[in-house]
Symmetry: C2
Subunit: 192 residues, 2 copies
Amino acid sequence: MALEHAILVSLLERPGSGYELSRRFERSIGYFWTATHQQIYRVLKRMESDGWIDVREVPQQARPDKKEYSVAARGRAALSEWLHEPIEPESVRHDLAVKIRGAAFDDPSALIREVERHHRAHSDRLAHYLAGERRDFTGPDAPAAPDAGQQLQHVVLRGGIAYERMTLDWLDDVLATLRRLGTAPPSADPAP
Amino acid sequence: MALEHAILVSLLERPGSGYELSRRFERSIGYFWTATHQQIYRVLKRMESDGWIDVREVPQQARPDKKEYSVAARGRAALSEWLHEPIEPESVRHDLAVKIRGAAFDDPSALIREVERHHRAHSDRLAHYLAGERRDFTGPDAPAAPDAGQQLQHVVLRGGIAYERMTLDWLDDVLATLRRLGTAPPSADPAP
DNA sequence: CTTGTTTATGCAACGAGTTGCATAGAAGGA
DNA sequence: TCCTTCTATGCAACTCGTTGCATAAACAAG
């Protein structure tokens, strides 16, 4: 399980409340690890009772109080231990690929709109990543001499950018294939 | 949930037993959807009681009997329905990315071996995909006029190949970054 | 003849992750 | 004034997925 560790990394980069963490999981660290606020609150509670993180009640004006979490020594140790143990290269779960293979037993051209929708979503994500890269790493306001943390964040973001670009190219390939099948007569037997 | 649908697609491509399905999920359809045999047997049972699939007891010599499943009309309908409803573009879960960002708070050069291991694993996978592509689609024994099903399987496989190539390039980038940080003094504060 | 491997199926328990719902104060708009 | 949105936290129930274990027949190796 890596949600604990993702939270540790995020809290080391900057302490924050469960709510703030759930916002970060909608961007930044959320680009490669998703979590809902429910999960985050539950895990935070466990991490606190395990002594991985410390809590500080922060009264606020004009909004509800919050609990600000920060990483304790035991949490740092747990992260370090995890960093040193090997993990399995992750396997992908791509339901769109299942749909594409399934289209052989249905109408392939009916999938075109769906694939176009995915294309737009990935295109938006790419634009979003590129804007973030310009803002934090390559733009005029970016640090001239980035520290280790910034360089590592940047290389992870470059991974996200590469992923989206690859995906967009592939979706173009998928669209071309589906359109080719749409103009030719279907050879796989459709539903009886 | 898409495991049901992945199983439907696989059974439409060729009927088979739970055991055979679990083998297919180690290759082919397993390239983009993973499942253990436990999960498969449980879901098959549910699908059967829902009338999505039919069973046929097949006695075998020299090995235990098996239950061969094939897709029933209701299963075909369920697949068709699923194909026509939109799905969310999937979000990635990349624990290696969490580790890389976490390395800022540990020793970045300690991650090099781990990243190299992932590089080898993805390199093996790419070779495996390319061999499959040559065997089934681009080699001399491949069909000269592939049908819709084969063309769709091929475009999915091309996606896998593109993913592995992109990942290998990115891992090279990661390794270069980690090595650069290893030779320079660390600027993020390490564990106290 | 025992041990290990392959085919083949399954239960039980747990942990991870999702969905629906609930609460509550303050701000801002219709 | 009411309705919605934002911040902030949480419970309960459920589904999904993993891990460990168990069974059983046949074959191959030692």
